[in-house]
Amino acid sequence: MKTIRLYLHYVSINVRCIMQYKTSFLLSAIGQFLVSFNVFLGVFFMFQRFSKVEGFTYSEVLLCFSVVLLEFALAEMIARGFDTFSGMVKSGEFDRVLVRPQNEILQVLGSKFELTRIGRILQAVVMFAYGIVKSNVVWSVSKVCTLLFMLIGGTVVFTALFFIYAALCFFTLDGLEFMNVFTDGARELGKYPLSIYGKKMLLFTTFVIPYALIQYYPLLYILGRQTSIVYMVLPLAACWFFIPALLLWKYGVRCYQSSGS
C-alpha cells in the first residue's frame, strides 16, 4: 500500500514537471500521434489495394494493431525509466538510487513517467473504436475479459523487454540499439496478426518471446474463430516472460555493485 502511494507520488511529481513545459508536451504528444498515424496510413493504403490478408479483413487487422499499439504505449509510459536507463547509468544517477532506502525497481520506474505517450494511446483508442464498429465481433463478457487480459499481458511483456534492455546497460552501453528489434520490432510485427508471417514466426513468437500469446491467439478468440477457454487466458500465461527479465535485472544490479561502472 505504501509502495503504491510512493509510486503515485512519483507519478504526480513527473506530471507536474511535464506541465511546466506545456507546448513542448503538447508537441511531443502530437509527434507520438503522428508517428503511429503514419504506420496506420501504411495499413490503410495497403487495404485500399487488397481486401484481405491471409483471411483477415481490414477491421480485424485494425483491432489487432490497435491493441498491440495500446499495450506498447502503456508499457512505454510506465516503464520509460527503464527504456532510457542508459542515461541513468551514464550520469551516475543510479548511484543516487542505491543510496536510498527503497527498492531499485520502484525508484527507476518512478524516475520517469512519460505522459507524452498519451498521443499514441489516443491513436490506438481511436483505431480500436473504429475496428470494433466495423468488424462483426459479437461482444460478450468473456471477450471483454480476453481483451483485458491482452492489455495486461501485453503491457507486462513489453515492460519485461524494457527491463532486459536496462539490465544490459549494466554490462555495456555500446550498441544496445539492437534491442529495438524486440521492442519496436514487436510493435511493427504486431500490426498484422502474427500468423501472416508464416509458421516459423508463429512458433518463435509462441515459445521464445511470447508475442503471439498476447496478440494472435486471443484475437482468434475475440473474432470467434476459436472458442476454447485456453485462448482466452493465454495472454496471462505470457507473463512468465517477466521472470527471466527480472532475474537478469537483479543480476545486473549485483554486477553494477561489484564493478561500479
Partner: protein
Amino acid sequence: MIAMEHVCKSYKIAKRNAGFVEACKALFHREYEVIHALNDVSFTIHDGEMVGYIGPNGAGKSSTIKILSGILTPDSGTVLVDGHVPYKNRIDHVREIGVVFGQRSQLWWDVPVIDSFELLKDIYSISDACYRQSLEELTELLNLSELLRSPARQLSLGQRMRCEIAASLLHRPRILFLDEPTIGLDAVSKLAVRDFILRQNQTHKTTVILTTHDMQDIESLTSRILLIGKGQILMDGSLDDIKSGNESIDATIAELYRTYHI
C-alpha cells in the same frame, strides 16, 4: 562507527587507442587494463568525528565513498558502518546515511524544491512530526524560506547546494558523506555551507566525511585528515601534524603530494 579493514577494489577498463585501424582491431579484440582503485585501505572513524578525505583525482576517494555508502562491493576486506555491512544490507544501511554529490543534483529540476522534499519524505518514510521538525530546523539554519517555493532550475548554484544539503539531511542521518560540497560556490555560499556543516556536527553529533579539493574546507571543518594516493592511505593525522611553520594550507598539501609522489 565506521571501520574499513584491508579493503581492496580493482576495475577492468577497456583500452581505447586512437586511429581508424586501431578502432577496427578493437571491434574484434579488446585489451583490458586493471586499475587498482583501492589497495589495502584501513581506517576507523568514530561517531561524531569530522574527517577530511583528500587526495588527487583518481586516487580512490570516490571508490571509498561508494563502498561506504553501499553502492559498491569491495573485492576483499571488511567494512562495517554502525554495525551494518553496507553492501549486504543496503536498504537498512542507507536509512542511516546522507549523501551529497556536489556535482549532481537530487532535486527535481522543474518543480518547487519543497515538492522534491515531500517526495523524499515518502521515500525515507519520515513521520509527519519528524519531517516538520527537520524542515523547520533546516529552513532556518540554511536560510531556505525564500527558496523552497521556486523550482530548482531557477536557483543559483549556491542556493541549490543549500537545498541539496537539506535534502540529504531531512531523514536525520547519523553519517553524512559530502562529495565536494563547495565546488563552484561563491564566497558567501561557501561560508554558509561550512558554517552549517559545523553546526550540524556539533548539535546532532553527525559523523561527517568530506572529500574536497578546497583546502579551506578542510581547514575550517575537519580536525582529522586522511590522505589517499594510488589507492592507499598515505597519511592519517591532524592538520597541525603536517603544517610546518606558517605556510598556507594549499602549500602544505602541495608539499605533501610532492613528498608522496602523487
